[in-house]
């Protein structure tokens, strides 16, 4: 057998069905007697609903039913809950306004659903939706975060008269102030983290199917975490016992966070199926996705860093405004707090940190986790600030980072913002990235760019993230309303093949392969003998799903535990068969052996014996070979690394081209290097997208002005270079694999490296600041402004 365990670039088991066009995505499914739902959504950012007249729609051809807010209220459907309670500075709770699945008297963002039309075809439903006559009294709206807390601003929710959801802080302000008082240098920076649309290429879709005969619901939905959706629907929104609801997330075409959350549409088609007595299917259009999928980022921050005369960081103070959108999405409140401000130490030894976050409601789509979720915002702030500090005090950008890195002898390292990093080697990843980038050849490359009329810039970012979400007790103490462990079940089949049931969900990450590799590593069998089942609450015992780069670290660790139990039970069976004591049995490479002898039993023989127990210790051991395990992590994991970017800027057009990306990450033990590299590539593309191309734009009145692929600039193949991706492994100290997580590193590390490179390119022209996305127009204007300023000087 070839080695297919840890470190093997096994080609993916799931690929064949996708390559043949035989994937099974929700929109591919057709249930007998199925109907189609179309949502009528608000075109206004903020309005009172004076009247809804759906009589014409109800009478339109093919229409089965039209539902409005009144109908769901009459049936007692619960509002969409928020999974994380944040406390204000004064200890009081955040404001949690109702988040109804269909508007109750008021709409609060463009795209807010007002009615659901159900018809026998999508065409009929669409035509009838246009006949739902809604009279709105339009109200003043807040489209931009910067306007949310201004005096006299329109109020999104009466419960939050100043539009603040919470005013939260972390760290020791007095300690930070004391450090600033004795600082030799203080560096300050204002920055914006641009609002993004996640844009998984598969739009969201859901089919509700109620069986009156069994009083049982099935929901097929594009979800990263079907058990969480079942939990929330059971307890909060649909109000049915969990055994009466099955949630299936089949093949899902990308998530990036946007498919974590419990959305109105999946609830409404499930409930609607009971109301109309037929399955109800809904599939989002892309334009609809822009105004109904949760967005990401959207911060405005002021940061200042105190340094001593030698360039050592003394303290950091950060004040951030975060946009939560019109309603609290499932994990929206946790992103700008515990997933953001706790990362503000970065890879640096920083004794004092104080951060405060004011999170505001606006008349925009809810904002929640998107690839990186808080950690890109922290890395961007810190790495822009560190670069500015280097320039301000005249220190090399690489050296200032080296000087301030947490040293390897300082681990475990307690940060000033709650986290304790277990391990890392930031000098090593920096050195590896520098070698890959060929730093020594830079001047030559810069001269070659100049010969073409281009300005070349070099940018660096050294970042850290917290993954493997999460130790339940810690998360609970911080306000999480759920546990964040993971579950795995290993079913050894009688002839020795293995079926793994995992509570994580794969929507591109390749778990069907990497989880099979974990089995290969532990049981010494080929991945061909392993099937991985995920995404179905009826088949899998439980799970919290896939997000925050947690699947391998938490779900993989649960699988390791379950496999240990299988091996241990097998030892007892083998001991019986080999007439030896259990303590003398070893298991290695798929074989049980009496230690120091040639007396062996293959794993398959032991499995067969477990199911055909003719010669079996039946008095002391049950037949069968199937084990489950739950794993709750002891700590977060802390991937980190160094991302280096070179850009060429065309000073005449402002066009920025990324010409080199050299990164070195430390994502812990690598199960499948091919998949790990692929995850880094995808994250890099999204990170470069944020830095140069992407931004969801609202006008001051809350109108979404770029809600399609014609207007929102998605990175395309020709916009990106090939990437040089390297890894330096320090194994996580507290999980059985040593894995840290790789899903988000690209999106976290690279945006500041790109912008630092753009600024580096433009500094000779006098440009010292640049915001994301660094579009040609923005860059060109900055160049012109700098020219004008120079002339004036």
């Amino acid at each position: 057998m070839t080695n297919e365990g840890f470190g093997a670039a096994v080609r993916r088991k799931e690929d064949r069905r996708f390559l043949l066009g035989k994937g099974n995505y929700v929109d591919d499914m057709v249930l007998p007697n199925q109907t189609y739902a179309v949502f009528v959504r608000s075109m206004y950012a903020h309005a009172k609903i004076a009247k809804i007249d759906s009589s014409a729609a109800r009478e339109a051809p093919g229409v089965v039913a039209v539902f409005t807010g009144e109908d769901i209220a009459a049936d007692g459907l619960g509002g969409l809950p928020c999974g994380w309670l944040i406390k204000n500075k004064d200890g009081s709770n955040m404001v949690e306004p109702a988040h109804p699945a269909l508007a109750q008297g008021k709409v609060r963002h463009v795209g807010d659903p007002v009615a659901m039309v159900v018809a026998t075809s999508k065409v009929a439903a669409r035509a009838a939706a246009a006949l739902v006559d809604i009279t709105y009294d339009v109200l003043p709206a807040i489209g931009l975060l910067a306007d949310a807390t201004r005096p006299g601003a329109p109020v999104v929710h009466d419960e939050a008269p100043n539009n603040l959801c919470y005013d939260w802080h972390i760290g020791d302000e007095a300690q930070a102030d004391a450090a600033f008082a004795k600082a030799a240098h203080v560096v300050e920076l204002d920055l914006t983290n641009n609002r993004l649309a996640p844009n998984a290429i598969e739009p969201r879709s859901a089919i509700g199917d109620y069986s009156a005969a069994n009083d049982h619901y099935t929901l097929y939905t594009t979800s990263q975490n079907p058990h969480v959706i079942r939990l929330l629907m059971g307890a909060f929104t649909l109000h049915v016992p969990e055994h009466k609801l099955r949630v299936v997330a089949p093949d899902v075409g990308g998530g990036f966070g946007s498919k974590i959350f419990h959305y109105a549409e999946e609830l409404l088609v499930t409930w609607g199926s009971r109301k109309v007595g037929r399955p109800v299917k809904w599939t989002s259009d892309r334009s609809e996705a822009f105004m109904s999928d949760a967005h990401g980022r959207d911060h405005i921050s002021h940061a200042k860093l105190a340094l001593d005369a030698s360039g050592k960081f003394l303290a950091l103070k950060v004040s951030t405004q975060a946009n939560l959108g019109a309603y609290l999405s499932t994990f929206g409140s946790s992103v700008p707090t515990y997933l953001y401000a706790t990362l503000l130490s970065g890879p640096y030894d920083l004794a004092a940190i104080y951060a405060e976050v004011k999170a505001a409601f606006t008349n925009t789509v809810p904002v929640d986790a998107y690839r990186g979720a808080g950690r890109p915002e922290a890395a961007y702030l810190l790495e822009r600030l560190v670069d500015k500090a280097a320039r301000q005090i005249g220190m090399d950008r690489i050296e200032i980072r080296r000087k301030n890195f947490i040293r390897t002898d300082q681990f475990p390292y307690q940060t000033a913002v709650a986290l304790q990093y277990d391990i890392g080697d930031y000098h090593a990843t920096l050195d590896l990235a520098l070698a890959s980038n060929d730093r020594a050849g830079y001047d030559k490359r810069k001269a070659a760019s100049a010969a073409k009329g281009k300005l070349r810039g070099f940018g660096i970012s050294t970042y850290i993230e917290a993954c493997g979400i999460a130790p339940s007790a810690i998360a609970g103490a911080l306000g999480a309303r759920a546990g964040l462990y993971e579950a795995a079940n290993v079913r050894v089949n009688p002839t020795g093949s293995v079926t793994v049931f995992t509570g994580t969900h794969s929507h591109g990450q390749g778990h069907e392969t990497t989880f099979a590799q974990i089995v290969a590593e532990k049981l010494g069998m080929s991945v061909d003998n392993v099937d991985v089942v995920h995404g179905d609450t009826d088949r899998i015992l439980f799970g919290m799903g896939t997000y925050g780069s947690r699947s391998a670290a938490v779900g993989g660790s649960a699988l390791m535990k379950a496999l240990d139990k299988v091996i241990d039970k097998g030892k007892k069976i083998a001991a019986h068969l080999l007439e030896a004591s259990v303590g003398d049995i070893e298991f290695k490479d798929g074989t049980y052996r009496v230690a120091g002898t040639d007396r062996v039993k293959a794993f398959g023989e032991v499995a067969f014996t477990a199911y055909v127990p003719h010669n079996y210790p039946i008095e002391t051991l049950e037949p069968g070979l199937e084990e489950s395990a739950y794993y709750d992590p002891k700590n977060f994991t802390f991937p980190g690394g160094c991302h280096l970017v070179e850009v060429e800027v065309d000073p005449d057009t402002g066009v920025v081209e990324v010409v080199d990306v050299s990164i070195a990450d430390d994502v812990g033990t690598i199960i499948n290097p091919m998949i790990v590299d692929g995850q880094a590539h995808g994250g890099l593309a999204q990170g470069i997208g944020q830095a140069l191309y992407e931004e969801v734009r609202y006008d001051g009145e809350g109108q979404l002005t770029n809600g399609s692929y014609m207007d929102y600039c998605m990175p395309r193949a020709a916009d990106l270079p090939s990437f040089k991706v390297g890894n330096h492994v320090t194994a996580c100290t507290h999980n059985p694999i040593g894995v840290k997580g790789v899903g988000e590193c690209g999106a976290i590390g690279v945006p500041p490296a790109v912008i630092n490179a753009v600024i580096d390119a433009l500094i000779p022209l006098g440009v010292t600041d640049m915001s994301m996305p660094a579009t040609p127009e923005k860059v060109w204007r900055a160049i012109q402004a700098a020219k004008t300023a120079k002339k004036g000087a």
Partner: protein, 157 residues
């Protein structure tokens, strides 16, 4: 309603469909060939790319009635005799897919490129694929896969 005749993946079909039915709807809903995907509503993402008379076309941009009499190949028709097409094999070998949603469109687009340009450079691949969006791979491995797939197609494998 219109009656149209299509040859899809070497098999003849006669369809009754509305004059407004898009080719992608005819394929997905009438013929249940769900390998062709819909990722947007503005002909930008390319997930719906199929071959119409041998050329790659975004099937969301063509009415089914316009395809009357045409020969169409979808992702389901690419592999023959249980063997992956060289482009499909190259996508697997080079990890050119993650969630799989853009993959059928990428592969149908790439095979058309390689018929026109049997040995495309990285630059040519990247520019040809401008009409196909992928959110998972960062295109890095797609580009590698397309060039390897081109080699496979040249070799007649």
């Amino acid at each position: 309603m219109a009656t149209i005749k299509l040859k899809v993946n070497r098999q003849a079909h006669t369809l009754e469909c509305a004059s407004t039915t898009l080719l992608v709807e005819a394929l997905r809903e009438h013929l249940r060939l769900t390998g062709t995907h819909v990722g947007c509503d503005t002909s930008q993402c390319g997930a719906c790319t199929v071959h119409v008379d041998g050329k790659s076309v975004k099937s969301c941009t063509m009415l089914a009635v316009e395809a009357d009499g045409a020969e169409i190949t979808t992702i389901e028709g690419l592999a023959q005799g249980g063997e992956l097409h060289p482009m499909q094999a190259a996508f697997r070998e080079h990890h050119g897919l993650q969630c799989g949603f853009c993959t059928p469109g990428m592969i149908m687009s790439a095979t058309d490129l390689c018929k026109r340009t049997p040995d495309p450079s990285e630059h040519e691949v990247r520019h040809w694929l401008e009409g196909n969006l992928c959110r998972c791979t960062g295109y890095h491995n797609i580009v590698k896969a397309v060039r390897a797939g081109a080699a496979g197609m040249r070799g007649g494998k």
